[in-house]
C-alpha cells in the first residue's frame, strides 16, 4: 500500500466533496480495460480495493484519538480518514481555523467546539475576550450542508449566529450550548421555528438574554421530533400554556429540564402529560405567586409514581422541603440526582437518599453536612460521581462539611470515580484514606476554600494527602489541588501523575521548582491552569519541550515577566502566547497578570480585544 501518484490524482479529480457520505458503489472509480476484443470490463486498481476497504473499516473508528493515529499512517489513510470522519472535535477554537478544518474534513455531521479557558467562568478574564462562533458557523454553512449536531462550550454565540445555523442546515437535529453567552430568546425562537428536525435543544449553564420573545411558541404546530429540551439555566419567564401544548405534541420527549419559573403545580401538569420521561428537571419545586393553595393539594406522589422510566432528577430551585417525599416512588430507580440547588438539611436528605440504592451520580449542597454525606455513604454503593457545592462560597466561615464527610464517602462508596468537594477544612488522613479506598478515581478535585489552609488536625501542609492520591489512584487523569501546599506536592505529582491530563492549581507551591516538577514529570499533561502561585520565568521555560503537546497553559497572578513570556513565544513559533491585563484601568506592573498560551496552526488570531497582547 504505497503512495501511487496516479491513483491519488484520480481520487482527487473524482472526489466530490459536496456529496453525501460514503456510498461504497460510488467510490468504485476504476479504469477501463482497453482490449482489442472491444469488451469493456472494469478492473479496479489494487490500491482502489484497499481504499474502499479502508473507508468501510474506518467508519467503525469513532474515538478521535484513534482516528488521529490512523490519519498519520500514510497519505491514503490520511485521505480516507478525512473523508470518513463524521464527528469533528475542536478542543480550542483558535488552534485551527474554520477554513482549514472544513477543507480537510468534508463530510462532517457533528461538530464540537470549545472556546474560552475554564478560569474565565470565575471572572478571572475580562469579558469579550473572544471565542466567537461566527467564523465557524459561516464556514460550516458553506461546507457542511448536512450538518446535524453542534455542541459548543464556552463560546460567544449571537442571535444572528443561531439564525444562520437555523437557515443553513435543513437536517439539523441537535444543539447543545454549555456555558455560552451572547444570545437571547430571539435566537432560540429562530432555532425553534426553523429547525424542523430538531431532536435536542440543551441549554446548560448558559447566559440567555431576555428579549421578551416567546420562543416556546415558535416550535412547529405539528408533532415534533423533540427528545430533549433542557432550559433550566434560562432566567426568563416562559409561556407555560405553550410549553404544555409542546409537551403534548412531543411524543418522543425523554429529557425535560424546566427553569425556576415553573411552579410545582405546573410541573405536575407536565408530568401527567409526559410519564415517559427519563430525565426531569423539576424547576422551582415550589409554589410561586400563581396558586399556592391549589398547588399544595395536588397528588405529586402519583405523578412521580407514573414516571416509571425516570432515572435522572434535578431542579429543586426553590424547594419546598415538605414536598420532597413526593419523589420517593422514583428513588429506587434513580441513577442521577442533582440537589445542588436545594438548600436542604441532613434531616431532609436522609429519608430520600436511603431509597437511592442505584445512584451513580449525586450533586448536593454542603447544607446536608457530614451527617448527610454519611447517609449517602451508607446507601449509595454504586456511586461513581459526587459533587458537593458550598452554600456559602466564602473563605472565612465555618464549613458544614469536612474531612469527616470525605472519610465516610471513601469508606462507603468504593466505586467512586469522580469527586468535586468544597470544604473549609480537611486532613491528610482523610485524603489518604480516599486514595486507598477508591482506587478507581479518575477525577479528584478538592477545594479547601480557605487559601493556604493546612491540615486541620496536624497543622502540616496537604502535600502528603495529594501525594497519596497520585500514588494510589493509578487511573487519575484530572486533579485540582488546594490548601497549604509546598513544592513537595508538585514533586509527587510529577513523579506519580503519569496519566494526569488536566491540572488546576491555586495559591500553592514555594518556588519555580513546583512548576518544573509538573512540566518535566507529567507527559500527558494537556490542560494546566494556575493562579496566584510563585512560579516565574525559569519555570515557564522548563516546559518548552512540552507546550506543543498541550492544549493550553493558563497562569494568572504568578511571577512571570513579559520578557519571560516573550522568550517562550520566540522559542516556539507555533505557540500563540497571549498576555492580558485583568483590569484595564490598572497600571501594568512588573509581572504579567494573565498568561494564556496554546498551540495553533494559524498564528495570531485577528479578533483580539484591547486588553490582550500577543507576543
Amino acid at each position: 500500500m504505497g503512495d501511487d501518484p496516479s491513483s491519488s490524482s484520480q481520487m482527487s479529480e473524482d472526489d466530490d466533496d459536496r456529496s453525501p457520505p460514503l456510498d461504497p458503489s460510488s467510490s468504485n472509480k476504476a479504469r477501463n480495460c482497453s482490449s482489442g476484443s472491444g469488451c469493456d470490463y472494469i478492473i479496479p486498481y489494487p490500491d482502489q480495493v484497499l481504499e474502499n476497504v479502508l473507508e468501510n473499516v474506518l467508519c467503525f473508528l469513532t474515538a478521535r484519538q484513534d482516528r488521529n493515529a490512523a490519519s498519520l499512517v500514510c497519505k491514503s489513510w490520511y485521505r480516507a480518514e478525512a473523508l470518513t470522519r463524521s464527528g469533528l472535535f475542536i478542543g480550542n477554537c483558535y488552534a485551527v481555523s474554520p477554513r482549514r478544518a472544513t477543507a480537510r474534513f468534508t463530510r462532517v455531521r457533528a461538530v464540537s467546539i470549545k472556546g474560552k479557558p475554564r478560569f474565565a467562568d470565575f471572572n478571572l478574564m475580562p469579558p469579550n475576550w473572544g471565542a466567537h462562533f461566527r467564523p465557524w458557523v459561516s464556514a460550516m454553512a458553506k461546507a457542511y450542508p448536512w450538518l446535524e449536531k453542534v455542541y459548543l462550550k464556552r463560546m460567544s454565540v449571537t442571535d444572528d449566529d443561531l439564525a444562520l445555523l437555523a437557515e443553513s442546515f435543513p437536517g439539523f437535529k441537535e444543539l447543545l450550548l454549555v456555558c455560552c453567552d451572547g444570545f437571547g430568546t430571539s435566537g432560540l425562537a429562530v432555532v425553534a421555528s426553523k429547525c424542523r428536525q430538531l431532536k435536542v435543544l440543551d441549554l446548560i449553564e448558559s447566559e440567555v438574554l431576555d428579549d421578551d420573545v416567546d420562543w416556546i411558541c415558535c416550535f412547529p404546530e405539528s408533532l415534533t421530533c423533540l427528545e430533549s429540551l433542557i432550559f433550566d439555566c434560562v432566567e426568563c419567564h416562559i409561556n407555560f400554556e405553550a410549553l404544555e401544548r409542546l409537551v403534548m405534541r412531543s411524543p418522543l420527549l425523554k429529557k425535560l429540564r424546566l427553569n425556576r419559573h415553573v411552579s410545582i403545580g405546573q410541573l405536575h401538569r407536565l408530568m401527567v402529560r409526559a410519564p415517559q420521561l427519563t430525565h426531569l428537571g423539576t424547576g422551582s419545586f415550589s409554589t410561586l405567586e400563581g396558586n399556592p393553595q391549589g398547588d399544595q393539594e395536588l397528588d405529586y406522589v402519583s405523578a412521580f409514581a407514573a414516571c416509571k422510566s425516570l432515572v435522572c432528577l434535578s431542579g429543586f430551585r426553590e424547594i419546598l422541603p415538605d414536598q420532597l417525599p413526593a419523589i420517593y416512588p422514583v428513588c429506587a430507580n434513580l441513577t442521577n440526582l442533582n440537589f445542588s440547588y436545594a438548600n436542604i438539611t441532613a434531616e431532609q436528605l436522609i429519608p430520600v437518599i436511603r431509597h437511592c440504592h442505584k445512584l451513580q451520580i449525586f450533586w448536593v449542597l454542603d447544607s446536608v453536612c457530614d451527617e448527610g454525606l454519611k447517609a449517602v455513604a451508607a446507601t449509595c454503593k454504586e456511586l461513581r460521581e459526587l459533587r458537593v457545592f458550598p452554600v456559602n462560597a466564602r473563605e472565612d466561615t465555618e464549613g458544614p462539611v469536612s474531612e469527616v464527610g470525605l472519610q465516610a464517602i471513601s469508606e462507603g462508596c468504593r466505586k467512586l470515580q469522580s469527586i468535586l468537594y468544597f470544604c473549609q477544612r480537611m486532613t491528610n488522613a482523610a485524603v489518604i484514606a480516599m486514595s486507598k479506598n477508591c482506587p478507581d478515581l479518575v477525577v479528584f478535585r478538592l477545594c479547601i476554600m480557605g487559601r493556604h489552609r493546612p491540615d486541620h488536625a496536624t497543622g502540616e501542609s496537604m502535600d502528603e494527602g495529594f501525594g497519596a492520591i497520585v500514588m494510589n489512584c493509578k487511573k487519575l487523569t484530572r486533579l485540582a489541588v488546594s490548601g497549604l501546599l509546598t513544592d513537595q506536592a508538585f514533586s509527587y505529582i510529577g513523579q506519580f501523575g503519569k496519566l494526569v491530563r488536566t491540572l488546576s492549581v491555586a495559591f500553592a507551591g514555594d518556588s519555580d521548582m513546583g512548576l518544573k516538577y509538573l512540566l518535566e514529570g507529567c507527559p500527558k499533561l494537556q490542560k494546566l491552569e494556575i493562579r496566584d502561585s510563585p512560579f516565574g520565568d525559569s519555570a515557564l521555560r522548563s516546559g518548552l519541550h512540552h507546550y506543543y503537546n498541550m492544549r493550553f497553559l493558563w497562569m494568572s497572578s504568578c511571577l512571570l515577566t513579559r520578557e519571560g513570556c516573550q522568550d517562550v513565544a520566540q522559542a516556539l513559533p507555533r505557540l500563540v502566547v497571549e498576555v492580558m491585563k485583568s483590569d484595564e484601568e490598572e497600571e501594568t506592573g512588573e509581572y504579567v497578570d494573565i498568561l494564556y498560551l496554546y498551540r495553533s496552526l494559524e498564528g495570531q488570531r485577528d479578533d483580539i480585544p484591547k486588553f490582550v497582547d500577543i507576543l
Binding site: R260, E395, M449
Partner: protein, 250 residues
Amino acid sequence: METELRLGLPGGGGGGGGGGGGEGGGDQVVVMMRKRVFSETESQITTDDESSACVDLKLNLSSKDGSSTAEKSKSLMMNKNKEKNVDLPADPAKPPAKAQVVGWPPVRSFRKNMLSAQKSSTTDESKAGGNAALVKVSMDGAPYLRKVDLNMYKTYPQLSDALAKMFSSFTIGNCGSQGTIDFMNERKLMDLLNDSDYIPTYEDKDGDWMLVGDVPWEMFVESCKRLRIMKGKEAVGLAPRAMEKCKNRS
C-alpha cells in the same frame, strides 16, 4: 470505547517513553520516535498541511542566569510564609477574616447568584436589585430588542457601557464602545446630537420621550418605562422639549 491505536514505528516501542508517547495523534510525536513528515514524502503538499504539526523539537535551552528571579521568588516566598504562619492554628483562635479574592473559591457566578437569590427570597431581605427594574430596550434598525435591569447600574456611564455591549453587534459605522455617549452632561448631549448616529432616549411615566441623561440617575430609574436608542436625526426634535421639561422641573 477507545481502542488506543498506536503507530508501530521502526526502532521504537508502541508508545510511552520520555516525552510525548504514541497514544493517538492528539499528542504530537516528538523527538524520540520521529515519523516522516508529509513534506518529506510528497512534494505537492503545501506547508499548510496539518502534518507540519509533527515538529521536530530540538531546542537549545540556554541556561540563563536566573539569580534575579530566584531572589524575587524567594522574597515572595518569605511573604507567603508569613501569610501562612498567620493561618497555622498555633492557638485555637480563628484565622483573621480575609478580603474576598476575585474568582475564589471557584464557584460559577451562575451558581452563586442562584443561591443568593434563594436566600434573599426566604429571608425576605431586599438586596440591591431585589426588585428588578426591567425595561425593554429597542434600537432603531436592530432586529431584536433587549431587556435591562436598571437596578444593576448606579450611573449613566455604566448603563451606557452595558447598552453598547448589548448592541455592539448591530451598530453600523463607528459606534460601539467608542461611540457611546457621555450623557451625564447636558451640553455634551447637544453637541453630540450633531455628531453621533445613535442617541438613547426613554419614555417616562408621563408618556413623554426624553433624552437620557437630563435628570439625576435615581430619578431616571424611577420614571423610566422603556428605552429606545434612536438614530440621531429623529432625536433632534426631542431636544427642545427635553430642555424645557428640565427647566420646568428645576
